[in-house]
Amino acid sequence: MKIRQISVFLENQPGRLAALCRTLADAGVNLSTLMLSETGEFGLLRIITPDADKARAVVEKAGYAVTASEVLAIQVPDKPGGLAAVLTALDPHQISVEYMYAFACRTGRAIMIIRFNDLDRAADILQKAGLKVINTANLFGP
């Protein structure tokens, strides 16, 4: 159920993000979604890609500090209040969202990438509530 994500440390200085993207592009890594979370001085660039292992190796070799983590990809119902339904389902269970961002999807599905403090329980609860938790194959599939 869980999706691998890699996070790269970047200093908030001109050209740093562009340099990283170029490194990945030169290595032929296909980026599905990027999300930069920053403090003003530095940031973490979170990357979702079908080639997570390759992306990590490429970035590490280029000298960046990298860490891998796991997130959930959730298909949000395509109607008003769709995201609210996801969060409401978790409300009574004391599961919190650390961060979330939208997954760029070719098929037009509305998919959110969410990092919960307890991924396994969150996945379980959401599925029981009838929400779609998408696995890696499905996420990058046709």
Partner: protein, 447 residues
């Protein structure tokens, strides 16, 4: 010559080390005899020294006791630069068999020379260094000091061959290959800078190699930069490699001026070749034993480039107790700072080693760092740039901000000063060859 020692040291006695155990009265006699000779030689052959002696109205014959050394003029690093390249040589170039040079941070490097006898002395003091750290024939030694103009690589190399060890002259760099060689060649001992070895410990971890389980490295001699007890603790606990401090500087001979023994409690100076004094950094007068000051060294047997009362800029003190190992040559405390590395900010003296200690209190391994001093609106600012490694990184911006705060707090606890902490991308702080650059002073003092 000193028969009573042979029984105590049965099985581990090496003839070269006998001089480490010379009766003290005899050692002082040897020193005085050599001091007189080197003063006379330098006076005769080296113009700079002769002029300074004459200016003080001194003649070599005025040296009649060891204490008289304190009458002689000092030499400093700029003397070597001002007389570049051969101005301090006391023998014709045809007698010089080796040249080394230091990488000067600004302008011209400094050049040092060796006669064939100097090379033999150098080999012997390195052999004594290695024996003191427990190296012997049968060891397979990976020498990670840089080979070339730097005295570290070739200096250690000569002594390693002298004791009959198997030397791997790998030099620095290419961390993964270093670990591969350590494993595949069955390396039992190493030489290098402590900061580079700490980096290698981390490289091995990344490669899934455990020092204790997968490697045979048991001991290492480390030098060429000041390091701390925290770094030793880290090296020994993270890798199981027993870490010995060695001391030397190119201006004197290179590595081989002093070394730790198995007691790891201060560095024995090879006093039959080097006369050590410790002087007050301001008055330049000798301080009592046990008191900190600047280490000043006179070479007692060097021929090609004898150096009288060289101010090392290294801050240390003589140990006052006898060493448990039985060596009679005196010990200095490990050097963790240099007087010229010290900086003053808002009236407070700060040493880079204090920043190092603070960073090591927060992270178990020493990150690469740089202290940057600036002046804004007449007020000095200290920034410490700390490179983030993959191990320090978490996928949580808040946690990274906490780390940043912990670094700042730790520095404040140790120095009493506020430091702005910048978390930097790996590889963005410039490395200089061999030694890490720790301080960038950008204060424009005319403002």
């Amino acid at each position: 010559m000193i028969p009573h020692l042979w029984n105590d040291l049965e099985g581990t006695f090496f003839p070269e080390s006998a001089l480490d155990y010379m009766p003290e009265s005899r050692l002082r006699e040897v020193q005085l005899q050599r001091l007189k000779a080197v003063t006379a030689l330098t006076y005769e052959k080296v113009k700079l020294f002769r002029e300074r002696m004459d200016a003080k109205g001194l003649k070599p014959a005025d040296v009649t006791t060891l204490a008289d050394v304190s009458k002689l003029p000092f030499m400093v690093k700029t003397d070597l630069r001002d007389t570049y390249p051969y101005g301090l040589f006391a023998v014709p170039m045809s007698d010089v068999v080796r040249l080394h040079a230091s990488s000067g941070t600004t302008g011209k490097p400094i050049v040092v020379g060796y006669t064939a006898q100097d090379m033999e002395v150098w080999k012997q003091v390195i052999m004594r260094t290695l024996y003191a750290a427990g190296y012997s024939r049968g060891d397979i030694v990976q020498n990670m000091y840089g080979y070339g103009l730097f005295t570290g690589g070739l200096g250690l190399h000569g002594g390693l061959e002298g004791i009959g060890a198997t030397v791997i002259p790998i030099s620095g760099g290419n961390s993964e290959r270093q670990i591969m060689v350590m494993k595949d060649f069955g390396v039992t001992a190493i030489c290098g800078t402590p900061s580079y070895f700490i980096h290698l410990i981390e490289t091995a971890q990344k490669m899934g190699i455990d020092f204790r389980r997968d490697l045979k490295v048991k001991r290492g001699v480390f030098g060429a930069e000041p390091w701390t007890d925290e770094m030793r603790k880290y090296i020994e606990s993270a890798s199981g490699v027993k870490a010995f401090d060695i001391y030397g500087l190119s201006e004197i001979i290179g590595p081989g001026v002093g070394a730790e023994c198995e007691c790891q409690d201060g560095l024995h100076i090879f006093e039959d070749h080097f006369l050590a004094e410790i002087v007050d950094t301001k008055t330049l007068e000798p301080v009592p034993d046990g008191t900190e000051g600047e280490l000043v060294i006179t070479t007692l047997s060097k021929q090609a480039m004898p150096v009288i009362r060289y101010r090392t800029r290294d801050i240390t003190a003589f140990e006052t107790s006898r060493c448990g190992c039985g060596r009679t040559c005196r010990r200095i405390r490990r050097i963790s700072r240099r007087s010229d590395d010290m900086f003053i900010i808002r009236g407070v003296n700060v040493f880079p080693s204090q920043i190092e200690t603070a960073l090591l209190k927060t992270e178990s391994s020493l990150p690469h760092y740089l202290i940057v001093l600036t002046r804004k609106g007449g007020l000095d600012q200290m920034e410490v740039r700390v490179e983030i490694t993959g191990e320090m990184l978490t996928d949580n911006v808040g946690a990274m901000e906490q780390l940043q705060k912990r670094f700042g707090k730790s520095i404040e606890q140790i120095t009493g000063l506020h430091a702005a902490i910048t978390l930097a991308q790996p590889g963005t702080i410039p490395r200089s060859e061999g030694k890490a650059k720790r301080l960038l002073d950008q204060r424009n003092l005319t403002n």
